[in-house]
Symmetry: C2
Subunit: 96 residues, 2 copies
């Protein structure tokens, strides 16, 4: 194992970070659009049943290396940030 | 806007969740391999300078919809979980 190998792994990690950022951003855009549809239909933005169903699907697909509990925790953070995006939009809509 | 459209957006969201899971898992595997290389070279696993550099790169690439501060917070959670994976491996190695 050499420093060269470490550098290569780090380059791969940097690439994965950017892919992750792109996907988290894409997810944020999708959640915003879902929030708009729900707003127009007078539906609640937060749906704990749907959130639980998403977490169950994610855990079912999880093959490691992270434990299900870790993956669930990470996704809960992502869900929370996404919901805050919807709330920002809602506040802006109220101010118009 | 119809329920059909909401269903379609939710299906897209489920797909993005699975892509995110796959990428987070790939990242976990990469970090484990980096941990092994560092272990063999007697290097510290946690490198705050490298972590800061990764966060800076990620913020530079961020084009929304999330604020830089939110993206940074999400990635810090992902980094923390990844570091815990390395620590688990280290403990197992010590027990062998």
């Amino acid at each position: 194992m050499s420093n060269q190998q470490l550098d290569q792994l780090r380059t791969e990690l940097d690439d994965v970070n950017v892919e992750l950022l792109n996907l988290i951003s894409k997810r944020g855009d999708l959640v915003k659009r879902i929030g708009e549809v729900k707003e127009q239909q007078g539906m609640n933005r937060f749906d704990p049943v749907r959130e639980r169903a998403m977490l169950n699907k994610i855990s079912e697909k999880n093959e490691g290396p992270f434990e299900d509990s870790t993956v669930t925790q990470l996704f809960k953070e992502i869900f929370k940030a996404s919901l805050e995006l919807q709330e920002d939009d809602h506040r802006k809509a109220l101010l118009v």
